[in-house]
Amino acid sequence: MLHTLIQSPYKTNMPLLISILKKKDDFLALQDGVLIALTNSFFLDSIVLSSANLYLIKEDVHARGIINNISSDFILINYIHFVSLTLTNKTQMTW
C-alpha cells in the first residue's frame, strides 16, 4: 500500500497513521507533509521504526528551506518517481 501524507504531521492523526503502517509499505510525504522528515523532530523515530519505505518529494523539501535538516532515512524523489510508486502499489491511502 502507498501512503501519502499531504498535511503537516502536526495536523494529522500520526499515532493512527503509524499504527496502520506495515513493513514494506511505501510512505510518501509531499507538500507540508515533508516536515515529518526533519532530524530530531517529534514524529521521526516512530515513522522510521515502522520499517516502511520512506520517500519525500524533493521539490517540496527545497521549497521550504529544510534540505539540510532532513533525516537520511528518507529518499528524495521527483514526481516521475511518485507516478511509479502509484503504479507499483495496488492501493493508495491519503492522510
Binding site: 507540508d32 516536515l35 526533519l38 528551506g65
Partner: protein, 119 residues
C-alpha cells in the same frame, strides 16, 4: 492606541495563510504602530531561509518578512517548544531577529495585546 498580535501557526507555501498574514501585517502597519508577530507551531518554518520555492511554482514571499523593520515593526517572538519539537534549535538561522520564549513567557507577552489575529 491598541496593540495587535499577529500569530503565524502554519508552514509556508502549503497554504497561503503565511502570505495573507504578512499582507495583513503590512496593511495594519499603516494604521497602527504597535504590532507584534508570534511564530508558533508550524509557523516557525516561516522564519527559515527558504531559497527554492520556485521549484513548486510558489513565490518566495518569506523574504519580505525582513522588510518589516522599515515599517518600525520590531517585536518578533517564537515558541521554544515548537522549535525543539521540529528538530530546530537556537543555532538555526532565521530571517528575523526573533526572541525565543518558553510557553509561559509567550503567554505573558500575548496578554499584553488588545487583539490577536491568527494565521
Amino acid at each position: 492606541m491598541k496593540k495587535i498580535a499577529f500569530i503565524f501557526s502554519h508552514a509556508p507555501h502549503g497554504t497561503t495563510l503565511g502570505k495573507e498574514g504578512l499582507d495583513a501585517v503590512l496593511g495594519t502597519s499603516s494604521i497602527l504602530k504597535k504590532i507584534s508577530l508570534f511564530f508558533i507551531g508550524d509557523g516557525v518554518f516561516q522564519l527559515l531561509k527558504s531559497y527554492k520555492s520556485e521549484r513548486i511554482l510558489a513565490r518566495d514571499y518569506t523574504s519580505l518578512f525582513s522588510i518589516l523593520s522599515l515599517y518600525e515593526i520590531k517585536d518578533f517572538y517564537c515558541c521554544k517548544l515548537s522549535l525543539f519539537e521540529r528538530g530546530l534549535n537556537f543555532d538555526t538561522e532565521f530571517i528575523l531577529q526573533v526572541n525565543i520564549l518558553n510557553s509561559y513567557f509567550l503567554r505573558l507577552k500575548l496578554d499584553d495585546h488588545d487583539a490577536i489575529i491568527n494565521f
